[in-house]
């Protein structure tokens, strides 16, 4: 069933989604991203994760590096979402078409997310290999893929929001990496020590709960806890809402 047969609103999200998704493939970005993603995922899994030496039929060494891979690769996908439109001036065209702000933000985000999920799906040879070599728990692997997708979505939503603040894609990239780094490590001593030196302990605890790693790790163990799913979903929703507000606010400035 096509979007057009449902409602004109859904249809606009679909149209923006399609244009944005194709835009990734209009430049070498898509291919470079996929190749680098797969190569790095492979290198990290085999050399740093000791995929073969561990002699265990699971994909833990593969998934465990995803937060770090995403930290540098996902901002490269999200940086163009809004900054490029500002730079090219097409934002003036885009925002004067009869589209609601929510649909515009959602269509762009979903295109970037679908692209990152496509890249993730292309790692299927790892899954085939582990099934060929042993008898892994495929439920755990499926949960890990789900967790990884959600985490990529959270990184992308943050990146999309930051991209809306600037017309410089490099600035968007660097800021997104920095902010995502804090989110990734929020539960670890590196970040907590920084805050505990001066902030009240309730605040430090709150910051700790925003760490991506613990939430991802618990999904990765095969435990699909609604709280973890809800965590990533809220990061996405909050970031995208802020994204829409930032664009609206810049109209009034």
């Amino acid at each position: 069933m096509k979007f057009s047969e449902r409602s004109p609103k859904m249809r606009n999200i679909g149209l923006i989604f399609t244009r944005e998704f194709q835009a990734y493939f209009a430049t070498p970005l898509a291919y470079i991203f996929i190749v680098i993603f797969l190569m790095l995922a492979g290198l990290l899994t085999f050399f740093m994760g000791g995929y073969l030496e561990r002699d265990q039929a699971d994909l833990v060494p593969f998934f465990e590096f995803h937060p770090w891979l995403y930290l540098f690769l996902v901002p490269a996908l999200s940086m163009r979402l809004w900054a490029e439109e500002r730079k090219l001036g097409t934002i003036e065209l885009f925002l004067t078409l009869p589209i609601s702000m929510g649909h515009a933000v959602l269509g762009k985000f979903l295109a970037a997310w679908a692209f990152s999920i496509t890249a993730l799906c292309l790692t299927f040879p790892f899954w085939l290999t582990v099934n060929f070599l042993g008898n892994p728990d495929n439920g755990v692997i499926l949960a890990s893929y789900l967790g990884s997708s959600l985490m990529a979505g959270a990184y992308l939503a943050i990146g999309s929001m930051i991209s809306a603040t600037t017309k410089n894609q490099i600035i968007a990239f660097v800021l997104t990496t920095a902010v995502c780094f804090i989110f990734t490590l929020a539960g670890s001593p590196v970040v907590l020590d920084f805050f505990s030196a001066w902030a009240p302990s309730e605040f430090v605890q709150a910051v700790g709960n925003f760490g991506f790693l613990p939430h991802f790790q618990s999904i990765q163990r095969g435990v699909i806890d609604l709280r973890d799913l809800f965590f990533f979903a809220s990061i996405i929703i909050i970031s995208l809402t802020a994204n829409a507000l930032i664009i609206d606010w810049r109209k009034a400035a």
Binding site: P8, A23, T90, L93, I99
Partner: protein
């Protein structure tokens, strides 16, 4: 009868600077309104507020009875807009770009195909319609932008410097196009090229420092100044701005 385009005390301030200051006017079908003024006079800002790209600090406007603040989507449906510099997605071809715009504007199937084809024909971009927009000359890019603004046959057409930077032949193409649509639409064009007003406009409005300083048919403006020359009028009313 509702006015096609009604601007009501529209004001825009950027920080302490008032860029558009209490602008009020009405324009109707059949009018080609030339928005004249020195660079930075507030022409583009006024247009951007009407099409919903900027929010006014105070005042409002309405297009075909739809208020720009209360009903921005209806305004966007009724207006065709060519932003300054005619931005378009460089990786797309004019054909795919126009198809995208037509879809967003709600056209489907054979109607969409017809709309796209018609826009390509009237702006005379058939020759380049299948090559990426980034490879096109300025003149062609401008016409792609025009095609985009015409695809839904809007009642109100707002063109920000449609002929700026074009060679004389390209200017002629764009002006002929504007003239051919003049009777059935309300067209607002901004320009700082005075010959343009003589060439296509039925009414000229000079804006300086965000205020309307002259408004009338090109002939009226000329006779007012006694100079018989729009250049003279322009210099006279914008001198102190």
């Amino acid at each position: 009868m509702t006015e096609t385009l009604k601007i009501d005390k529209l004001t825009k301030r950027f920080g302490p600077k008032t860029v558009v200051d209490n602008v009020t006017f009405v324009a109707n079908k059949g009018e080609v309104l030339g928005f004249l003024g020195p660079n930075g006079a507030g022409k583009s800002t006024t247009m951007k507020m009407v099409v919903g790209f900027l929010s006014p600090t105070s005042g409002t406007a309405s297009v075909c009875g739809h208020d720009i603040i209360e009903n921005p989507l209806e305004v966007k449906r009724a207006v065709g807009y060519l932003p300054e510099g005619a931005p378009a997605y460089p990786d797309m071809t004019p054909h795919s770009f126009l198809k995208f715009i037509a879809s967003i504007r709600g056209f489907r199937g054979s109607e969409k195909v017809d709309r796209v084809e018609n826009a390509i024909n009237i702006t005379r971009i058939e020759d380049v319609s299948r090559q990426p927009i980034e490879t096109l000359s300025k003149g062609y890019k401008r016409r792609v932008g025009l095609a985009q603004s015409l695809i839904h046959d809007p009642e109100v057409l707002i063109l920000d410097e449609p002929t700026d930077g074009l060679d004389p032949n390209q200017k002629q193409v764009v002006r002929d196009l504007i003239r051919s649509m003049a009777t059935e639409k309300c067209i607002v064009i901004s320009t700082h090229i005075l010959e343009e007003v003589d060439a296509v406009c039925t009414r000229a409005m000079i804006i300086a420092s965000g205020k309307v300083v002259a408004d009338g048919s090109p002939e009226e403006l000329k006779s007012q100044s006694g100079a018989g020359d729009l250049d003279e009028v322009f210099r006279k009313v914008t001198k102190n701005a």
